[in-house]
Amino acid sequence: MALVACPDCDLLHAASGVPERGTAHCVRCGGALLLAAPVRGQPELAVAVAAMMLLAVALGAPLMRLSELGHVSVATLPQSAVDMWRNGSRPTAILVAICSFVAPAAYLALVAGSLVGCMRTPPARWAGKLIRWCGRVQPWTMPEVMLLGTLVAFVKVAEIADASPDIGMYAVAGVAVLIAWLGGAVRPASVWSRILAPP
């Protein structure tokens, strides 16, 4: 019987009898065990590609527009990082760029690449390398935080001028939902168990 240790408290468990697509939790601390779930490949890849397309829209389309006495100003995602850079706070600009679109784009590309590698026969070993990089990028992928940020910014500027949300904001919401789904559906343990069985 295969043994698995809880990632949060190191307790050993016999990993059997876990339903497909189910999650098993540690009996002592309640942590989620790193168990392999079947990766179907095509549905996950379709979601990753859809998320990439939405991210492209979120990058190109304006998030919000503001008008005051005939002046109109538009904010896009890359432009908010550029404005932060120009107006003096360069480290913050880099952080905003990473968390709002660099990390999500990298995450989606890595997940898609890894799924393509998984679907080959035999599954390619580089699929695992890509999924390992996914784990490093994922904590900095925060479209949901960004979405709330745009909402608060929207209320703040609505105070002083006439503001209205634009297509980009809806695209960001879509990206947030799809990335959250991918995080649960594509797990490193699953990809690795598909590439090679434990020695």
Binding site: L3, V4, A5, P7, D8, C9, D10, L11, L12, R28, C29, G30, G31, L34, L35, A36, L63, L66, E68, L69, H71, S73, A75, Q79, S80, A81, D83, M84, N87, G88, S89, P91, T92, L95, V96, C99, S100, G128, R132, P139, M142, V145, M146, L148, G149, T150, L151, V152, A153, F154, V155, K156, V157, I160, A163, P188, A189, W192, P198, P199
Partner: protein, 206 residues
Amino acid sequence: MSVALPTAASRGLVSCEHCGLLSPPQPHCPRCAAPLAARREGAIVRTVALLAAAAICYVPANVLPVLVTSTLEGSEADTIFGGIMLLYDSGSWILALVVLVASVMIPIGKIAVLSFLAYVCTSGVQVSERECMRMYRLVAFIGRWSMLDVFVDAFVVALVQLPPLMSVRPGPGVPFFAATAVLTMIAAATFDPRLVWDRLQPAERP
């Protein structure tokens, strides 16, 4: 709560943090080649150092202004708390509460909880390990939301560019606030929750 149960460490095994494979101790996981360690290296010392840095950055983050608004009448600087009061005054008390929680309470909560957990691991104080884990998971899960104000400032700056009527620049507090958020996120990932449970098995403590 003092039953010695079989852990990977007590059986001389190491669990790969990345792919979950159990194997005898060796530098790299035999399946996925990720670096392998029974416990994260120097977890307590590094966590405490990161928390100290975050706590230092938290002071200028709240004292210095984060947004500087220039209008025809002059310029006005707002701190994080000032921004929350403005949101509250404009009638959206729900958003004011959300920003208060994300920008003021979550950073303090992260620093307090992780400091407490580091203290628990280094002393023999009697606590419920399950409660410790509940706090740790909450901190690890909620930590990213403290980035909220950084995004808010970035979008307000990008949007309110109507010179000479009105323009907004980021204040000197923004990088400090961003540093607090990032340092506490790294601190939560550096801490090893298994150390809380290792106290139950002092004989096998690595």
